[in-house]
């Protein structure tokens, strides 16, 4: 049955995705829903490690049903005051701005988030952004909406305020870097290094570790580099509206040195189950190492212009087992949770190279690829096998 998930949870939602976007700034993110939203989020990321503060509006059903707007505004003002006092006590930077995100109940009720944001802004005197999430989609959609929010509510108004501001020709925006898709610091460090190496400077990384002042300059950058599929929408919009060209990171040769000197014996065919742009990058590197066919499958957005023939959009859990059970692939790169399907089908499964929020901090890099090459040699019989784990297949993680 479509939409029935047996034995595993579906993936993080758009609400969680949008929340993680403001992780690195002094924001107060307020979910207009029950406290389940933050509870879910803290299972995805370490919510205390970032600068941002997450909270939910703990109001009873009746306030939602009757649309008592005043209750919401009062509750959010109280929260802001409480957080302000705490941050003062702890000598932390004060909250710079607020972000409102929606949850499932608010979506069902058709809440006017923009209106609420405006009222709250008048009440508290701080900028209030809003991301109209639903709690019904996956995190990539939430991130995309978050980028759209930054673009529409911060970057564009800044350009309108100062239309004569010069363009930063060598400036690069890193669009789509986020704590869910890029858990470790390695990817962002590599990107920054490469930008500098090519005589550029990073204008903004859109929420990963910068703050609104940088977002205000984002519209003046000379180029956008898209690091995950969630950043594609805004990159195209910026190209169309502001004339800023973009490239996805898998099209750049910045990461090729990771694969240099590594070889995949026996040209194994590989299936990568994951976010599209990162998976495309992995495909590029694996092919440079001598892999045969490399296909990408994803539960998230599969952009038509970035896909290659053989790439698969997964819609439900029951499409996963036949795919992983197929004889077409020698190796599968996927999440820990998919192991059950691999074990059933006697296939070898590897952990995904990049971290999964709090659960895994392994990330794509030279080390990972070296281990992958060694592992592939074992699978294709070019090397003696390492020990099997309790479930009968080889475990691999960094």
């Amino acid at each position: 049955m479509k939409n029935l998930w047996r034995g595993m949870a579906p993936f993080a939602t758009d609400t969680s995705g949008a929340c993680t976007l403001f992780y690195g700034s002094n924001a107060l993110v307020l979910a207009q829903d029950s406290n389940g939203t933050v509870s879910t989020l803290r299972r995805v990321i370490d919510i205390n490690a970032g600068l941002c503060v997450y909270a939910t509006i703990d109001l009873p059903e009746i306030s939602y049903t009757l649309g008592r707007e005043r209750d919401f505004i009062d509750c959010m003002s109280d929260l802001l005051a409480g957080v302000g006092v705490y941050r003062l006590q702890e000598r932390l930077d004060p909250i710079e701005y607020l972000v409102l995100v929606n949850g499932p109940v608010a979506t069902l009720l058709g809440m006017d988030l923009a209106g609420r944001a405006q009222r709250l802004e008048e009440e508290v005197g701080k900028p209030v952004l809003y991301v109209d999430t639903t709690g019904n989609a996956y995190y990539d959609k939430g991130l995309a909406k978050g980028y759209e929010c930054i673009y529409r509510q911060v970057a564009l108004p800044a350009l309108e305020e100062d239309p004569d501001a010069p363009r930063i020709e060598n400036g690069v925006n890193l669009l789509g870097v986020n704590v869910l898709d890029h858990a470790g610091a390695g990817m962002i460090a590599k990107l920054r290094t490469e930008v500098r190496k090519h005589d550029g400077e990073v204008v903004s990384n859109w929420g990963y570790s910068d703050y609104p002042e940088k977002w205000r300059c984002a519209g003046r950058a000379g180029k956008n580099v898209v690091c995950s599929v969630s950043g594609l929408g805004v990159a195209r919009k910026m190209e169309r509206e502001l004339g800023i060209p973009f490239e996805t990171m898998d099209k750049l040769d910045w990461f090729d040195d990771w694969a240099e000197g590594l070889e995949l014996a026996g040209s194994p065919s590989v299936l990568v189950v994951g976010e599209q742009v990162s998976s495309n990058l992995l495909r590029r590197l694996l092919q440079r190492m001598g892999a045969g066919r490399v296909d990408v499958a994803t539960f998230f957005t599969l952009d038509k212009r970035c896909r290659q023939s053989g790439d698969i959009k997964l819609k439900a859990q029951d499409e996963l087992a036949p795919l992983l059970g197929s004889d077409e692939y020698d190796l599968v790169v996927g999440d820990h949770a998919f192991k059950r399907y691999a074990a059933d089908n006697h296939m070898t499964l590897m952990h995904a190279p990049v971290g999964f929020g709090r659960r895994d901090t392994s990330e794509l890099g030279r080390d990972w690829l070296t281990k992958f090459a060694r592992f592939a040699a074992e699978v294709t019989g070019q090397r003696p096998s390492s020990a099997l784990d309790a479930r009968g297949h080889r475990d691999f993680s960094l």
């Binding site: 029950s34 499932p104 069902l108």
Partner: protein, 453 residues
């Protein structure tokens, strides 16, 4: 490459967000339905757990009233593929908000499939979850009604043998998550006065065994979290309920036995010889527990003691008993729930300790605050609470793994068990690791502010 950001290794996967132990009922499937966000809240950590499923219902389907049909389809599909005898339906905030008649749905599904159905409203916006609304808003407060939800399955289970005054039930059910230790006092009752079985809820291996709970003569709850289940069983099925919390005080256990004997009508149903035999065995257990306690107390008296009581359900009761016996308690570590909320079966002991030594309160609060700070980044609850000023966690305590708790301990054997635990260094590992430090501190002249209870 983040394909599934949904799992933290090591989190107990046995409970839902509302603290429902869905693995507790054998051959039961838990089906959570609602939007992804709500469903993930209930089962966010679920990976490779064949007992739980999620049915994602988006807002359009919910608004068009398709929820009940979708649930029906999902139940039929799961029932076809598994040996499920029972289903627990878990609604999320959004679906609860729509006002679905889940009672009726459960009855209708029971009629259609012959399986047992129960439901739990996992609704964070219900008034009882909002601070200040009801007594249930305490850390871990959901545990009360979530446990009862499991036992509502009994209403749709087969009737079994009817209990009458002449045939007052064949078993004793101890309301606890874990299996009973073979050394439990209660096993002494088997074979006497028509008692054929004694088991904890965690001992049930099949749904039929679980359904047999209806035939129990008496139910005993050993922690406040289970009391509501006992009261429910008494009200719904007429099974007398005794609330006899796990105790480390011999006199208290004596009193428990008086209540239990009366509920089981032992004096009436046993002949004189059998009664003597039962009581002699009980006296022997008491003597053994007393002796073990004396030995352990003597060991502990020799030094200042720091206890890690995070897995103890009535920590203040234990502290009080130890202090009475002359143990010099230097420090106590409690789990955050106990710090924030003292259960009523432990509150009196806490108050007596505070009255007896005002420094206790000060030190206890200071100690727990420093613990919170120490655990800060790793413990989202407290930091978040302090940050937002309004956020109060009410989910079941998160444990690295399922720790067998004292709910399965009862009677004199619970005292013996605790003493064994102490002896094995599980609870007093703090003492072990800090023995040198404590010895060094003791060698120093008394410092200002240093205290012991």
């Amino acid at each position: 490459m983040n394909v599934a950001p949904f799992f933290i290794p090591g989190i107990n996967q046995m409970t839902t967000a509302m603290g429902l132990y869905y693995h507790l009922v054998p051959q039961m499937e838990a089906l959570c339905f609602g939007p992804i966000e709500c469903a993930r809240h209930t089962f966010a950590d679920m990976v490779n757990d064949d007992k739980g499923s999620m049915l994602v219902i988006d807002d359009v389907q919910a608004a068009l009233g398709e929820t009940e049909n979708l649930i029906r389809q999902a139940v039929l599909e799961i029932a076809k593929e598994t040996d499920a005898r029972a289903f627990m339906l878990l609604s999320a905030c959004q679906t609860a908000f729509l006002g679905l008649d889940l009672e009726n749905l459960c009855a209708s599904l029971h009629e259609q499939t012959g399986l047992a159905f129960s439901h739990l409203e996992v609704n964070r916006m219900a008034a009882e979850h909002i601070p200040g609304h009801t007594r249930k808003f305490v850390p871990g407060g959901d545990r009360y009604h979530s446990r009862v939800a499991n036992f509502r399955l009994l209403e749709q289970a087969d009737q079994g043998e009817q209990r009458t005054f002449e045939q007052p039930g064949k078993g004793v059910i101890l309301l606890c998550e874990d299996e009973l230790d073979p050394s439990n006092d209660l096993f002494d009752l088997v074979g006497h006065a028509g008692i054929e079985w004694v088991r904890g809820v965690g001992d049930c291996r099949t749904f039929d065994e679980f359904a047999q709970i209806r035939e129990a003569r008496v139910s005993i709850s050993t922690s406040i979290a289970w009391r509501e289940v006992g009261e429910y069983l008494e009200k719904r099925f007429g099974i007398p309920h005794l609330y006899l919390p796990t105790s480390y005080v011999l006199d208290e256990v004596d009193a428990y036995y008086r209540q239990l004997d009366s509920a089981l009508r032992l004096e009436e149903l046993l002949d004189a010889d059998e009664l003597v035999e039962v009581r002699e065995r009980r006296a022997a257990r008491r003597a053994a527990a007393s002796e073990q306690t004396d030995v352990m107390v003597d060991v502990m008296k020799a030094q200042q003691v720091e206890l890690d009581l995070r897995v103890i359900l009535r920590p203040f009761c234990l502290c009080e008993e130890l202090v009475k016996r002359g143990v010099r308690l230097h420090n106590v570590t409690l789990n955050p729930n106990q710090t924030d909320h003292k259960e009523e079966d432990d509150l009196l002991s806490y108050e007596r300790l505070v009255v007896g030594n005002p420094l206790f309160w000060k030190r206890f609060q200071g100690n727990t605050t420093s613990n919170k700070r120490k655990e800060g980044p790793a413990n989202p609850y407290h930091v978040n609470k302090r940050r937002s000023g309004r956020y109060v966690d009410i989910s079941f305590p998160v444990k690295p793994e399922h720790v067998p708790e004292e709910t399965a301990w009862w009677g004199y054997s619970s005292i013996s068990k605790l003493m064994n635990e102490l002896a094995q260094g599980r609870i007093d590992r703090f003492v072990e690791t800090h023995r040198a430090a404590v010895a060094a501190a003791d060698a120093q002249p008394a410092q200002k502010g240093r205290w012991s209870l």
